[in-house]
């Protein structure tokens, strides 16, 4: 056993990020670490590399217990990490990046000639014949990625952790990277591969470990498992367990309110058609990276579309910016609440009033008493737990922050509300409240698009569910077909099967 994690536990204030997770890596093995957002993948990696201090558990490298206190210490012990971004210094030369902090010296001065020669030799082992005296930024991301790997391997040499290394590479570059990974594996390195591209996991990995909600779900060999099983493990459903709609939510018979025709953006999400009726909840399901958030951003105008058109009751809509979308009665609660949602230092009142004031323009300022009245109204209506409306929103719990953002958009009285993971990272009580609220809004006549990785939640309230895979719409489920197992099947089926079915 090369690297062993034994019941590693790590908690953050208010959340258990890792709950006694075991992890085993053999030498000469590419081991995939899988899981949705918040599953604990990055926390586990950070515990292994010393970026976080674990609360409990043991790490064994070559059967010797180790206790890295920083990524640099882990690197000296033999565990190197290559992150998706922020790896190397774009302004230094390739050779300097490979040798920073350990440049060969002669008489106390750096010998650039020897350093460049060494760098050329290292890189030729990766099949790269490039000018190492050029700045790193003059090379493509793929080559930079390989240089980062070369540095990590050269410095550590036992375990290589690759965190989403293929996220910004195209297909040929991915193959180039994979041949290097295979080469390193054959040299006896243990490689931890984090990716949410299942195809790549099946192509390159010898073993895989799935985490969910900070717990170990299981370990398997790709040969003994299927995409379907894997998706089940990641999303936490077993096939036998069918969740049917509890309530009989008949399909909306109201007129179509919004139409998106051939709507898309190349490189972002493939063009799709989507009709949304009044008084309808459309659910969106898909794995991480399947294009869920991209779709929401496109609909809201946060990212411009480059094909197709949007119509409201037959009339064309301009959706070139979020501002234009808000003017059309759109509203969007983003996935990353802390970064894209709340303004942490502003009060609950100021956060709630933000979108409404933006819609009115600064010439028609809301008076303080109007603001307080609106804020207090939503605090009561949504049951936001805060001592008063002047508390900075950053000090509230996640669930209450989510309600504040919801209130912000409800204040603009939207006709179309997009919710991206509205129930992520909030406690059970607030979770149920938000779901009840989503249903109440729909009954009042609003159209909603809800993105969620909680499948039974989607099944519960959606009248239609759209399934995304590889940044494209792949299925649309309606009526009785909306079951968790159908959603999982649609997510797990790979492109080849689709073609066979179609022909």
């Amino acid at each position: 056993m090369l690297l062993q994690g034994k019941s590693i536990t790590k908690s953050f204030p208010g959340a258990l990020a890792l709950d006694a997770v075991d992890f085993n890596l053999l030498p000469g093995e590419v081991h995939a670490l899988l899981g949705e957002n918040g599953a604990g993948k990055s926390t586990l990696v950070k515990c292994l590399t010393g970026a976080y201090r674990r609360d409990a558990g043991a790490i064994l490298l070559d059967n010797q217990p180790i206790n890295p206190r920083s990524t640099l210490e882990a690197q000296d012990l033999g565990i190197g990490t290559v992150y998706q971004e922020v790896n190397l210094l774009p302004n230094l030369t390739v050779a300097e990046n490979l040798y920073l902090g350990r440049q060969p010296r002669r008489l106390g001065l750096v010998s650039t000639r020897r350093m460049n020669a060494g760098a050329r030799e290292i890189l030729s082992g990766y099949g790269l014949q490039i000018d190492v005296s050029r700045e790193l930024s003059s090379y493509s991301i793929a080559i930079q990625q390989i240089i980062a790997i070369a540095r990590a391997v050269d410095l550590s040499g036992k375990v290589l952790i690759l965190d989403e290394p293929t996220a910004s590479l195209d297909a040929t570059e991915v193959q180039m990277l994979f041949s290097i990974i295979r080469h390193l594996r054959d040299d006896g390195l243990g490689i931890i591969f984090i990716s949410h591209f299942l195809d790549q996991v099946f192509e390159i990995c010898d073993a895989l470990t799935v985490l969910r909600n900070g717990r170990l779900v299981g370990t398997a060999k790709p040969a003994d498992t299927s995409r379907l099983k894997l998706v089940n493990m990641m999303l936490g459903r077993s096939l036998e367990e069918e969740i049917h709609k509890e309530k009989d939510r008949t399909a909306s018979v109201d007129p179509v309110q919004l139409q998106f025709k051939n709507f898309g953006r190349s490189g972002h999400i493939k063009a799709f058609d989507l009709d949304i009726r009044k008084r309808e909840i459309v659910g969106v399901a898909g794995l991480l990276g399947s294009g869920r958030t991209e779709m929401a951003e496109l609909l809201f105008g946060a990212v411009g579309h480059d094909s197709g058109e949007a119509l409201a009751e037959g009339k064309p809509l301009r959706l070139t910016s979020p501002r234009a979308a808000v003017a059309q009665g759109f509203a969007f609660c983003p996935e990353d609440r802390k970064r894209d949602g709340i303004v942490a230092d502003l009060s609950v009142r100021e956060n709630i009033i933000l979108a409404l004031q933006g819609q009115r323009g600064w010439l028609r300022a809301l008076s303080k008493s109007e603001q307080t009245a609106i804020a207090d109204g939503y605090i009561a209506r949504l049951d936001i737990r805060t001592p008063d409306c002047e508390k900075p929103v950053g000090q509230l719990s996640g669930g209450n922050q989510q309600k504040v953002i919801l209130a912000r958009w409800l204040a603009t009285n939207p006709r179309f509300l997009i919710l991206d993971e509205p129930t992520r990272g909030i406690d059970v009580g607030a979770h149920a409240e938000i779901i009840r609220f989503i249903e109440a809004l729909c009954d009042e006549g609003m159209s909603l698009l809800v993105i969620s990785s909680e499948l039974e939640e989607l099944v519960d309230y959606s009248q239609r569910v759209i399934v995304l895979r590889d940044r494209a719409h792949v299925a649309e489920l309606t009526g009785d077909a909306i079951t968790t197992s159908n959603i999982i099947r649609a997510i797990a089926s790979d492109g080849h099967e689709d073609k066979v079915l179609a022909s």
């Binding site: 990524t71 640099l72 922020v86 902090g101 010296r105 750096v110 930024s137």
Partner: protein, 320 residues
């Protein structure tokens, strides 16, 4: 050609072009005497600008150097007038104080994660104030050793003189070049300018490098103050006002990226010489107002900022 050399080449081209223009009007400007004076007159600025280049390469700024130059000058003058200390030991003391002052600012910038602009602005007022505490008057320096130092020069063919302060500046530039391009410390300086998170991940000793860079800038400002006192034979608390801005201008005209991470020491020297050349031209002309120096430098600065933007834009598009 490697695009990183482009700003440096642009600087050199502008210098040669400007010199050719001056020469075509006043052939005397190519004499060794003018060149010698160019070095002597701009020595204090050149030395301070080398220190500033290191700071700017890390992505920081040091606004205190003008005040530190004045403080050092007054400190030396007061000590020489009121004690029997030898100038060399006074120099050593002055350099020690200036270096510690810079190092202290670097420490504050690192540990408190404060913007260098604010910390060194405070340092600027502090050092200027300390100079006033020592003396508000201009104190002449009359010491035999100073006369000896001022008489040290090499005659070059053509009646030119390479003075001691000119030599000190040239040595400073050479040390700066070696330090920046041939030591690990130098690569850490560039690394900090390239991006703090990545530099940390790659094991750059961030704290040590930050403190050393500001200490180095303080040392250079102190040395510049010594040179300035030799040049003027006096210490005055109102001297060298705005030298930090001249130094920043020289660094940028020399092709160093103001956001850090890219540039060359030799460029800074040429930047200083370009600024000196404009001044010499105005003296030769005799009818132009000296404010034309500022106007031309302002224009050059704009040109270089535009050039750098353009370069960043071009390199980000042309990847292999």
């Amino acid at each position: 050609m490697n695009p990183r050399y482009l700003p440096l080449l642009a600087t050199i081209a502008i210098f040669i072009l400007a010199y050719a223009l001056c020469y075509s009007q006043y052939p005397n400007m190519l004499s060794t005497r003018v060149v010698g004076n160019l070095l002597t007159d701009n020595a204090y600025l050149g030395i301070a600008a080398i220190g500033m280049t290191f700071v700017i390469l890390t992505g920081g700024i040091d606004l205190s150097i003008g005040s530190v130059i004045a403080f050092t000058g007054v400190f030396i003058a007061v000590l020489l007038a009121n004690t029997s200390m030898h100038p060399l030991s006074v120099f050593a003391l002055a350099l020690l104080i200036a270096t510690c002052f810079g190092g202290l600012m670097g420490g504050i910038i690192h540990t408190l994660e404060m913007p260098p602009f604010i910390v060194t602005l405070a340092g600027m007022f502090l050092a200027r104030g300390m100079a006033f505490v020592l003396s508000t008057e201009s104190i002449p320096i009359t010491h035999d050793f100073y006369d000896t130092l001022q008489d040290v020069f090499f005659r070059v063919p053509g009646k030119g003189r390479l003075t001691l302060v000119g030599i000190i500046m040239i040595v400073t530039v050479i040390v700066g070049v070696v330090l920046a391009h041939r030591t690990r410390f130098g690569s850490y300086v560039y690394a900090l300018g390239g991006g703090l998170p990545a530099a940390k991940l790659m094991g750059v000793p961030v704290a040590r490098t930050t403190v050393c860079v500001y200490a180095l800038s303080g040392f250079m400002a102190g040395l510049s103050g010594i040179v300035f006192s030799m040049y003027t034979s006096a210490g005055y608390s109102l001297a060298a006002v705005g030298v930090e801005l001249d130094a920043i201008a020289a660094v940028v005209i020399g092709g160093t990226l103001l956001t850090g991470g890219s540039g060359f020491m030799i460029g800074t020297l040429i930047g200083v010489l370009i600024m000196g050349l404009i001044q010499t031209y105005i003296i030769f002309d005799g009818t132009l107002s000296s404010w034309w120096t500022k106007i031309v430098i302002g224009g050059l600065l704009f040109t270089f900022i535009l050039l750098q933007r353009g370069l960043v834009w071009v390199t980000s598009r042309a990847r292999i």
